[in-house]
């Protein structure tokens, strides 16, 4: 075993022996199953009829697949007092996510640019305060936020949620861009300044064109976070203006009438698909954002 291990590639000393290899693959596949199982169950349940759910096995494939639960979840399921499905809430979420992501990303880029290339006395303190803002428990700002949104007339609506998500997303977007621009050569900026380029010219012509990857990372990070938010949504937008996650929770938690598990699962899929889609299309950037969010930028 020892000799085999030392022949093995530097990255893989455990899998030297045949038995080791089997063990490693076995464990890895077992966990793949563990991670896939809930999603699998959710998907198959959403295509079953209620009778089949009651009589059959949770893990079995649907005998007679039906898209009825999906249609019902989208357009007919009852949430609260209205029975118009989750489609309205889905659009609420879109209307909230798009502006909130765009604004917080744009501001983050500008902030990161200032904090790296136009430093001033106290820039570290400013950044430190913005960084810490990422990590506060939002419970500690919930009550004042509710009051202020009420005063501004933004309580209970999408614009209020956009404001909230922009403000509490700024810390992360600034962090991402700051760490990215840190590595950007300052000589280029100096040269442009000597040529007479101003603050915004340098930003538009030099900084922004080379910010592609970090923009993608930030947009994905913000999109996922804001789409998945529940605390702010449930605190500041109830009823018709609630975002998708709040509506899903209301639908699933409704205790009146027959529990339609297949409709619940279809609705959960509607809430999951946008972020899953982003993950499938741009997983690499998603992971980079998560890592940068762990402040190991």
């Amino acid at each position: 075993m020892t000799s085999l291990a030392s022949v093995a590639a530097p990255a893989g000393p455990v899998g030297g022996s045949r038995l080791g290899k089997i063990l490693v693959y076995g464990v890895l596949l077992l966990f793949a199953l563990f991670f896939l199982l809930p999603l699998f169950v959710m998907i198959v349940t959403s295509f079953k009829t209620l009778d089949e759910i009651r009589d059959g096995n949770m893990l079995a494939l649907p005998v007679a697949p039906t898209i009825e639960p999906w249609i019902k979840a989208w357009g007919e399921a009852c949430i609260g007092l209205t029975c118009a499905g989750i489609k309205g809430y889905f659009w609420n979420s879109i209307k909230m996510v798009v502006p909130a992501v765009a604004i917080s990303t744009m501001l983050g880029a500008l902030n990161g640019y200032v904090l790296t290339k136009w430093r001033f006395a106290g820039h570290k303190l400013v950044f430190g305060l913005m960084l810490f803002a990422c990590f506060i428990p939002f419970q500690s700002v919930l009550i004042p936020m509710a009051r202020i949104l009420g005063l501004l007339g933004l309580a209970n609506g999408t614009p209020g949620l956009v404001l909230v998500h922009v403000v509490y997303g700024l810390g992360f977007t600034t962090l991402f861009f700051r760490n990215y621009y840190e590595a950007f050569p300052s000589e280029l900026i100096k040269a442009a300044q000597i040529d007479g380029a101003g603050f915004f010219q340098i930003f538009w012509r030099i900084i922004l064109p080379s910010s592609g990857p970090i923009i993608v990372v930030t947009v994905i990070f913000q999109f996922t976070n804001i789409w998945n938010d529940f605390l702010f949504g449930s605190s500041f937008a109830s009823g018709e203006s609630a975002p998708m996650t709040v509506a899903l929770n209301n639908l699933v938690a409704t205790s009146t009438g027959v529990r339609e598990y297949n409709v619940d699962m279809a609705a959960a899929m509607f809430a999951a698909i946008p972020t899953l889609l982003v993950y499938v299309l741009a997983g690499r950037y998603f992971v980079r954002g998560l890592m940068a969010g762990a402040v190991k930028g």
Binding site: M1, T2, S6, A9, P10, P13, G15, G20, K21, V24, V27, L28, F31, A32, F34, F35, P38, L39, M42, M58, L107, N111, V114, W118, K124, V126, F127, G128, L129, M130, A133, F135, P137, Q139, S140, I143, P144, F199, W227, N228, F230, L231, S235, T245, L248, N249, V252, Y261, M265, A268, A271, A272, T275, Y279, F286, M291, G293, A294, V295, K296
Partner: protein, 307 residues
């Protein structure tokens, strides 16, 4: 005439000065709205909440200070102790299991595995899901009547009994299961990045010495991952204290408040039980815990970068 000329003179000199000064101030002006927003909406609001925790606010905020009453009430609440106990159970198991699983999966994946490109995204996708979706899925999967229990019975294990979701003693552990399911892939990715960053020469040298693989990991590689352990711990501790959505979706803090966490406690006291002062006090306790964990960490991170 001459007066006007002398008057206009400083103006003429001052004019480019003004533009210049504006140019100099421009970066700060660009940053100012964001910074002001964070000062107000984060730090101002925290102070506001702190203030409220020293009042007798109930359904609506009142601004008459009455001292530590709310804190006294908070620490006299049995449900607050339940919340703290659950936080301790959830936190230790969630952080511990995520780190163990994440490290194990990362080490195993680092063995030149065929199909790593397929496995890695499978481990990580739950992180893209909303906690509400995760909670909904696991609630169904663990459903005492129709979920796992029924499947096991159908497979012949008829004595299998699983009622954790509705069992006050066990409900918090379902939150652990779903939480670990969601985050351990992310911890795996952190460790994998750490493993890939280790200098191959060191490992080669150790292998020439003939140390068996497990010792190589125990003595050399795992100790080298210390910074990753620290980051993973901080990230997970932070997620633990903020955990709210998952509990709401999975158990709704029940049955009968048995799986309460500080976050759900704060919400219910503030918005449904009309004890805003007590809710504020609990929010401040949560904040202090985060501060105790995050401030030293962020401080050392920023210093490490030396700027």
């Amino acid at each position: 005439m001459t007066i006007a000329a002398t008057r206009s003179e400083p103006f003429a000199v001052g004019r480019p000065g003004l533009v210049e000064r504006l140019q100099v101030a421009l970066p700060k002006l660009v940053l100012a709205p964001s910074f002001a927003a964070i000062l107000l909406f984060v730090y101002g609001f925290i102070l506001w909440t702190l203030y409220l925790s020293f009042t007798n606010s109930r359904m609506m905020p009142v601004y008459e200070l009455i001292g530590f009453d709310a804190y006294r009430k908070l620490w006299a609440q049995p449900s607050w102790y339940t919340a703290l106990q659950n936080l301790a159970i959830f936190g230790s198991l969630y952080i511990g299991l995520c780190i163990v699983l994440g490290l194990l999966l990362a080490i195993f994946l680092d063995q030149k595995i065929r199909g790593e490109g397929v496995l890695r995204p499978i481990y990580l996708y739950p992180m893209a899901l909303s906690f509400i979706v995760t909670g909904t899925a696991w609630k169904w999967f663990l459903n005492p009547g129709l979920g796992l229990e029924k499947t096991m019975h159908a497979w012949g294990w008829t004595s299998f009994h699983f009622d954790w979701l509705v069992n006050p003693q066990m409900a918090i552990y379902t939150v652990v299961i779903a939480g670990v399911w969601q985050a351990s892939g992310f911890v795996m990715a952190m460790f994998l990045a750490g493993l890939r960053g280790i200098d191959g020469e060191i490992i080669k040298a150790a292998q020439i010495d003939g140390a068996p693989a497990w010792q190589l990991y125990r003595r050399i590689i795992i100790p080298m991952l210390r910074p990753v352990f620290l980051s993973a711990f901080v990230v997970l501790a932070h997620l633990t204290i903020k955990s709210y959505d998952l509990v709401i979706a999975l158990t709704n803090a029940g049955p009968g408040g048995a799986s309460q966490l500080p976050s759900t406690f704060m919400y219910s006291f503030t918005f449904t039980r009309n004890q805003m002062a007590v809710g504020s006090a609990s929010a401040i306790m949560m904040l202090m815990t985060i501060v105790a964990i995050m401030v030293p960490y962020l401080y050392s991170e920023l210093r490490e970068k030396g700027r």
